[in-house]
Amino acid sequence: MKAMKRLTALLLAAVMAFALAACSDQGNQPSSTPSQTPTSSAPSQGPDDTQPSQAGAEFTTIEPGKLLMVTNAAFPPYEMTDDSGNVIGIDPEIAQAIADKLGLELVIDDIDFDAALISVQENRHDVMLAGLSYREDRDLVLDFTDKYATGIQVIIVNEGDDTIAGTNDELQLVDADGNVLEDIQIGVQRGTTGEEYCQSAHGTEHVTSLDNGSLAVQALINGQVDCVVIDNGPAQEYVAANPGLTILKAKYVEEDYCAAVDEGNTALLDAINNALNELIADGTVQRIIDKYITAD
């Protein structure tokens, strides 16, 4: 499979060898070899920091002095774009705080969620913060930081629709009597854990994957799906913006939100973890979350 991939790549590359050079000149293309000069071996010497982060080994970033973060800015309030196209939200602010601690300049790229997962593995980006839930199979290809928020996946339905009552142990949607709803169509965001859970619980034919949460909610409004399974944060926003939708009391599943770096990049992982834990300890993370999600 890998060989096949390389072969195709080679064929295409041969055809456009000259164009390649042109592109990499223009792009601020990073060298993917991690053997660059260590940029900021020591964390920031902020005077008010109780204890500097103890990076065990010196970490490197893809571009010296910069922390390249990738996200999918279609997941309010964790990440979204403002009206000038800048990425804002909980994750960008936490990432900014981490970058400040590490003495790095934060750079954010906004691409599709599944592309973002690949991007960190391919060393195009240093770190991914995208309301990313910890999962064992993701842990095989990525290294996760400690948890910084709890992601609760909820079920959005049309108001007055009481066919769905909650979930059973196998994460199947059930009615009030606990019977599994066989004939149901669930809207999810492509590449999310909700998509995977719903697909394994109900089968792919009962799950409609949309490019982002907005489109999934639009599909629910249009009646193309019966419900949407999505994280609680954005769900609150969607329901607030679209009269006629409601969130079920029963949660779908609870998960840990973590940042992720490429598998094996322990030095960077440790550095980020240290910074993150300091930010959690001093209440910064909670302040950022509260700013976007009004407690209820």
């Binding site: 164009a19 774009t81 690949i118 391919e122 009269p243």
Partner: protein, 256 residues
Amino acid sequence: MDLAYHYELWRSMMSSGDLDWWQVFFVRFYQAFLENGRWQQYLRGVGTTLYVTAMALCLGVVLGVLVAVIRTAHDQQRPGRRNFLLGLADLVCRVYVTIIRGTPMMVQILIMGMVIFSSSRNFTMVGALTLGINSGAYVAEIIRGGLMSLDPGQMEAGRSLGLNYIQTMRFIVIPQAFKAILPSLGNEFIVLLKDTSMISVIGGQELIKAARDVINRTYDAMFPLIGSAVIYLILVLIFTWLQGRLERRLRQSDRR
């Protein structure tokens, strides 16, 4: 009439359902295009769309001409005098055209963005490059078709006068073929312009990305999407008009 005032006023009344249809229409329109200067986002998107189209067109035409000339020259060799290098170049060109025409645009974009240029963060340029490489294969076939469709007597007349192959192509065959293929080339350009919408899947920041950002902020899909469609349509109509003028101008030379 103060648009912003009415927008705020009617928007707060929207959930109660007391508005006329045109008031709802206004609110959604305002929200999708005018609020906080969102039209600038679309405008930037259009800018990128046109830029990517122009880049891809240049690359596509260069590649297309190159491939078409190599393949035509190879096919028009005098029998028994095959050039090995030309044969090799022809093979490369045929593989290129076959792969590009045999795989979906979307797959090519994903492969370029996630496999080949998996470490480049210049998403828009990668998108333009992909589109250019894709377009090159189609342009090559259009040009080759144009060269083949021309009366072989034109080539014979040029050669019988002692002009060499390249001179005959340059002065006689290509100018005539260009006129013949202009409609197809225009069509390819239009396809290219619309295909730029696909580069948003690898992070290209063009018109559809702007529309999707607005959707994510307003939770309303209809107006940004229909608005984008209208913008594409206007761009295509402008180009079609320009193309028509160019064609009429070229025709003047031979029908008077």
